[in-house]
C-alpha cells in the first residue's frame, strides 16, 4: 500500500515538473518545442546528454548481463560509455556548429544542409526510424518489468498505455523542456536508489561469506571475447556521438562552449555502475531466484529494501524509461514532419510531428506486448545501424565534398553487410560485425567518389 502511495506520488510530482517547465514558454514555435530554441545552459544540456547513460536499459540490463556474462560484458559496456564522452568533447561542438550553419532541428537537417540531396535526406530518415523503433519498445518492456514488482492487478496493455499517455502528455505540455526538467528529478532518484541498493548489497555480500565467488561471475573471457570488446568499445563510443538523439539534445544548447563544458563531468556521473555491479554480485552470491533474466536489480531491491521503498525504486525506473521515451519521440516526430513533409507550413509540420509521435507510441505499446529479447541485445543492434551514418556525418562536420549518392549507397551496403553477418551468425575473428559493415560502407563511398571524379574529369575533356 505504502509502496503504491510513493510510486503514484513521485510520478505525479514528475508530471508537475513537466507542467512547471512550460512556465515562460506557453506559446512555442516548432524550434522551441523540439530544441528549446537553443537556450539551454550547461546544466540542462548535461542532464539531457547524460540521461542516455541512466536509462532503464542500464538500470535493468547492466546488472542482469554482468551477473550472466561477468567481466566480458562489463568491459565493453562501460568501456564504450567512458570513451563516448572524450569523443563527444571534440565532436559534439562540431555537431552544434553544423546545426547552427544549417539551421537544423533534426539529425537529417544536417545532411540536407550539407549535401542538398533529398534522396540522402530520406535514406537518413528511414535509417534513423529503423534504429529508433526498437527504443520505444525497449522502454515499455522495461517499464512492464518494473511495474510487475508492484503486484498490481492490471494488464500489461493497460500499464504500457498509461505510460504512453504520460509520455505523450509531457510532450504536449512543453516539448523537449519536459524531459529535460524531469531528467533532473529522475537522475536524483536513480542515484539515490542505485547507491542505496548497491550499499545494502555490499553489506549483504560481506555477511554472506564475502567476495570469494565474484571472480567466478560469468565465464573467463577468451581472445575472441577480447576482440569483440575492443571493436565494440571503439564502434559504440563513436556511435554514441552519432546517435540522432544526441544531435537533438546538442541543438538545445546555447553555444559550442556549453556543449564542450557539459562533457567534462559526464564520466563521473557513471559512478552508479560500481553499485550496479555490486547488485549483480549480490544476486550471484546469494543465488536469488529471478522470475526473468532482467529482474536482477528489482529482485535485489525487493530482497534488501523495506516494502514501502520498492515504490521509490519502481518510480525511479519508470521515470527513466519515460524520459528516454519522450526524448526518442521528440527526435522521431520532427524527422517525419520536417524531413518527409518539407513543403508544408510550420504549423502543419508541428501537428504532423505530434500525430507521428502518437502513432509511434501506439506501435511501441503493441510491440512491447510481444517482445521477449534481452534489452542489451537490442541496444547492440541499435548501434550497428547508427554507426553506418558516421562517414556521412564526418563529411558534414569537416565539410568534405563526398558525393551524396555514395553516402546513401554506403549506408545501404553497410547495413546489408552487417545484417547478413548477424543473421548468418558469422563470428569473423570475434570482431563486432558492424566493423565489416562500416568497412563495406566506406569502400562503397570511396568507389562512388572515385567514379564521380573520373566522370567529372572525363566529361570536361
Amino acid at each position: 500500500m505504502m509502496a503504491s502511495f510513493f510510486f503514484v506520488g513521485i510520478i505525479s510530482l514528475a508530471f508537475a515538473f513537466a507542467v512547471l517547465s512550460r512556465y515562460g514558454h506557453a506559446r512555442q514555435s516548432n524550434r522551441d518545442f523540439f530544441v528549446a530554441s537553443g537556450q539551454f545552459g550547461t546544466f540542462l544540456v548535461f542532464m539531457l546528454g547524460v540521461g542516455e547513460t541512466y536509462s532503464i536499459g542500464s538500470l535493468l540490463g547492466f546488472p542482469a548481463a554482468a551477473e550472466r556474462q561477468g567481466v566480458s560484458f562489463v568491459l565493453w559496456y562501460m568501456g564504450f560509455l567512458i570513451l563516448a564522452y572524450p569523443v563527444g568533447y571534440f565532436v559534439n561542438p562540431l555537431i552544434w556548429k553544423a546545426g547552427q550553419r544549417y539551421n537544423a532541428i533534426t539529425f537529417a537537417d544536417l545532411f540536407q544542409g550539407h549535401f542538398k540531396s533529398p534522396f540522402l535526406e530520406k535514406i537518413i530518415v528511414f535509417n534513423v526510424l529503423l534504429c529508433l523503433i526498437p527504443l520505444g519498445e525497449l522502454q515499455f518492456a522495461g517499464i512492464l518489468n518494473i511495474v510487475n514488482w508492484m503486484h498490481w492487478n492490471i494488464s500489461p496493455l493497460a500499464t504500457t498505455s498509461v505510460a504512453a499517455l504520460l509520455a505523450f502528455g509531457w510532450i504536449l505540455i512543453s516539448g523537449i523542456r519536459a524531459p529535460a526538467y524531469v531528467s533532473v528529478m529522475k537522475d536524483l532518484l536513480i542515484l539515490l536508489v542505485v547507491i542505496g541498493v548497491g550499499f545494502l548489497a555490499f553489506r549483504a555480500i560481506g555477511s554472506h561469506g564475502g567476495y570469494t565467488d565474484i571472480s567466478r561471475m560469468g565465464p573467463v573471457p577468451d581472445r575472441q571475447d577480447e576482440l569483440y570488446a575492443v571493436s565494440t568499445i571503439i564502434l559504440q563510443a563513436i556511435g554514441f556521438c552519432v546517435a540522432p538523439q544526441m544531435a537533438t539534445f546538442l541543438f538545445t544548447a546555447r553555444s559550442a562552449r556549453v556543449v564542450r563544458r557539459s562533457q567534462i563531468a559526464m564520466p563521473l556521473y557513471m559512478l552508479m555502475f560500481p553499485f550496479l555491479y555490486l547488485v549483480a554480485v549480490y544476486v550471484h552470491v546469494t543465488k536469488l531466484p529471478l522470475p526473468a533474466a532482467n529482474d536482477v536489480f528489482m529482485a535485489a531491491a525487493n530482497a534488501l529494501l523495506p516494502p514501502w521503498a520498492l515504490g521509490i525504486v519502481a518510480s525511479a525506473g519508470v521515470l527513466s524509461g519515460l524520459v528516454i521515451l519522450a526524448g526518442t519521440c521528440l527526435v522521431l516526430g520532427p524527422l517525419i514532419a520536417r524531413n518527409l513533409l518539407p513543403a508544408v507550413s510550420d504549423r502543419i509540420q508541428g501537428r504532423s510531428a505530434k500525430i507521428a509521435i502518437a502513432l509511434y507510441l501506439v506501435f511501441s505499446v503493441m510491440a512491447a506486448s510481444h517482445m521477449s529479447a534481452l534489452m542489451v541485445t537490442l541496444t547492440s543492434f541499435y548501434y550497428m545501424g547508427i554507426i553506418q551514418m558516421a562517414p556521412g556525418l564526418a563529411s558534414v562536420l569537416w565539410r568534405i565534398p563526398a558525393p551524396p549518392l555514395g553516402i546513401a549507397m554506403g549506408i545501404v551496403v553497410g547495413e546489408s553487410v552487417t545484417i547478413s553477418l548477424v543473421w548468418t551468425g558469422a563470428r569473423v575473428g570475434g570482431c563486432n560485425v558492424a566493423i565489416f559493415g562500416l568497412a563495406a560502407n566506406m569502400a562503397c563511398i570511396a568507389m562512388m567518389w572515385g567514379g564521380h571524379r573520373w566522370y567529372g574529369r572525363h566529361r570536361n575533356t
Partner: protein, 67 residues
C-alpha cells in the same frame, strides 16, 4: 596548447587506458577491493577521463571563443 596535445590528453589517454585494459587485464584473477582488476580499472578510468578533459578545458579550451 597545440591541437595534437589537446587531442592526445583528452582523448588519447582515456582511449589507451580503456582499450589496452582489455588484453592486459581481462583474464587476470587479481582482485582489488573485491572487484576483478579489469572492472576496478574501468572504475578508475571514470576519474581519469574526467580529469583528462578537465585539464584540457582549463589549460586551453576555456579561453577559446568557440569553446
Amino acid at each position: 596548447m597545440r591541437d595534437s596535445i589537446r587531442v592526445l590528453t583528452a582523448l588519447g589517454i582515456p582511449f589507451a587506458a580503456v582499450v589496452l585494459s582489455v588484453p592486459l587485464l581481462a583474464r587476470s584473477s587479481v582482485m582489488i577491493m573485491g572487484f576483478p582488476i579489469a572492472v576496478a580499472w574501468l572504475f578508475f578510468c571514470l576519474f581519469l577521463t574526467s580529469a583528462s578533459m578537465g585539464i584540457v578545458w582549463f589549460v586551453a579550451d576555456r579561453k577559446r571563443d568557440d569553446g
